[in-house]
Amino acid sequence: MKLFGKKIDFVNLLIHIFFIALCLVMIYPFISMLSVSLVSVEESQAIGYSIWPKKPTLIAYQLVLENFEPVAKALLTSFAVCISTTLLTVMLNAMYAYTVSRPTFPARRIINFILLFTMFFGGGAAASYIVNVNWLHMKNNLLILIVPGSVGAMSVIIIRSFFQGLPYGLVESAKLDGASEYQIFFKIMLPLSTPALGTIAISAFIGAWNAYYAPMMYFDYGKATTLSLFLQRLMNSIEMLRSNPGFNDALLDQIPGTGLTMAVACITVLPMVFVFPWFQKYFVKGMAIGAVKA
């Protein structure tokens, strides 16, 4: 038995080694971005970038901070968009889910179908663009980043199945006490559903933070910019920073363009990376519900 026990330990050890190696691979891209943002011009020209810069410098970050206005604006826009998107998404999906979760509601099937149909059929990118721009006049309007994705079949399914998992007696006894549907929804169902709502909230926030397609399609240069869009445009040029009147050209010559863009990329990515572990449990729970109901 002792020998058997030892053998199991050995296999476990191998699995641990495998996962540790895998974790290193997973964070390598983050590390490489960070390293490149710290390499000095001389070093990058002489020996190129490396994962372990010989003389790390914060000059790229200094440059970003000195010309912080465009970055700060993008950061604020991103936060505003993300928070509005999250709140709207949670509310709309929960309300919709509550309606379709009630077996006694006569129009339940049709309202459910209206939602699920969108999973399988759509007008396509070009048609959406034309409708949003020509009919709804959403060009350069931040609402285009917030509203369209706020109701989604998967989210409603997750919340609905959570509602249905709660004892139905809750609804019935509240009704006997004369509560209206609004009261039942806002005072009973919502407070009891924080795990499901947390899942929806965190994925909505991450989705909005990372969204690149809608900003790219609907926002012209010089209009409101999210951080993700800012990063996209920075990729092609650092002209946006340069166009800032107070830009320090002498400093620019000292750092490679890549270093500067990497610094902005790190500023975009790292907050999420550090904040995420605290919210992860919500994500995991939601995926478990999604997996059962998929």
Binding site: I114, G122, T261
Partner: protein
């Protein structure tokens, strides 16, 4: 609902007031769904009218309904000439997506099972978190990491190669390598998601099964194959079916940003979605064409979904989606 004539008997009166409450409740329930319905109508159902664009010669001045009909021109355009473009796009789109989907499925199943073998809760949590991290990073940001590594002049990998006295590789000029670079990126981003799903699913196996197996002298591999695998198989199959419907639609961000939309790589990286976006951005009369392609993508995806769903019935009925 019909209006009711006034009732006189007490019993009926009671029934009517219950019905009244019921009706009020139903209106309240319906009103909760109204904001969601408005969003769906505006942003999902209005664009559906745009499907007619696939059969039209779209001109911005005339709008969606004013533009002239053009029959199937937008569809046939795609098949014209020697079909080299079509062949390339289809090979890349379907080939790469199927390859990545299959590899990803296999890897995540194995990783979910391996993680399930571990008992140290803290370690499991740490692994889960780190493996999942890439999922929350956008492709735009990931593209920066790729640039940092693959830039020709002074990228991390080329610098390391140079230091070892090896020849630098011109990554953005050699399309063959990108099949695998993109595969690594795809796995990097998605493996964590699948792993957590399958691991979570394994947690729900009745533990007495494992104990019984141990008593019967089954080894770990036997337990995996005979208890764990059958348990997660339905979930694996439904995820696979749902994803296979999308093989004609690619993860646009990955194919577009990671490759820097580099023309030299199109031979192996240009997929339908990147082709369409490029066509749309260069303007001209591409709106009808892109809608037509979108329609074909949806139709083809739906057919594949149905066929695979049917095939899955033969393997494991619990995994089917419909």
């Amino acid at each position: 609902m019909k209006t009711k004539t006034p009732v006189t008997t007490p019993a009926k009166k009671g029934g009517s007031s219950i019905r009244k409450i019921q009706r009020k409740d139903n209106w309240q329930l319906f009103s909760l769904a109204i904001p969601g319905l408005i969003v769906l109508i505006l942003f999902s159902y209005l664009p559906m009218f745009g499907v007619v664009l696939a059969f039209k010669d779209y001109r911005a001045i005339d709008g969606i309904f004013g533009s002239a009909w053009c029959g199937f021109k937008n569809f046939t355009f795609f098949f014209k000439g020697d079909g080299a473009m079509l062949k390339r796009l289809l090979t890349n789109t379907v080939g790469l997506n199927v390859l990545y989907l299959v590899v990803n499925t296999v890897v995540t199943i194995i990783m979910g099972m391996l993680l399930f073998e571990l008992k140290n809760r803290l370690a499991i949590r740490v692994y889960q978190t780190i493996v999942f991290l890439p999922f929350i990073v956008s492709w735009v940001a990931a593209a920066y990491a790729v640039t940092a590594n693959l830039t020709y002049q002074n990228g991390i990998i080329n610098s390391a190669l140079a230091k070892m006295g090896l020849e630098k590789i011109n990554w953005y000029m050699e399309p063959e390598r990108w099949t695998w670079i993109l595969m690594i990126a795809y796995l990097w981003k998605r493996v964590g998601h699948g792993t957590i799903v399958y691991y979570g699913n394994l947690m729900s196996v009745d533990t007495s099964l494992f104990e019984a197996a141990k008593l019967d002298g089954a080894n770990r591999v036997q337990v995996m194959l005979n208890i764990s695998w059958p348990h997660i198989r339905p979930v694996v199959i439904s995820f696979f079916i749902l994803s296979i419907g999308g093989v004609f639609n690619s993860d646009f961000g990955m194919f577009y940003y990671l490759t820097n939309d580099s023309t030299a790589l199109y031979a192996r990286t240009d997929v339908i979605d990147t082709y369409v976006i490029r066509a749309l951005r260069t303007g001209g009369n591409n709106v009808g064409m892109s809608t037509a392609i979108g329609l074909m993508q949806s139709a083809a995806g739906f057919i594949v979904l149905m066929v695979v769903n049917k095939l899955a019935e033969l393997v494991d009925e619990k995994g089917t989606v419909f």
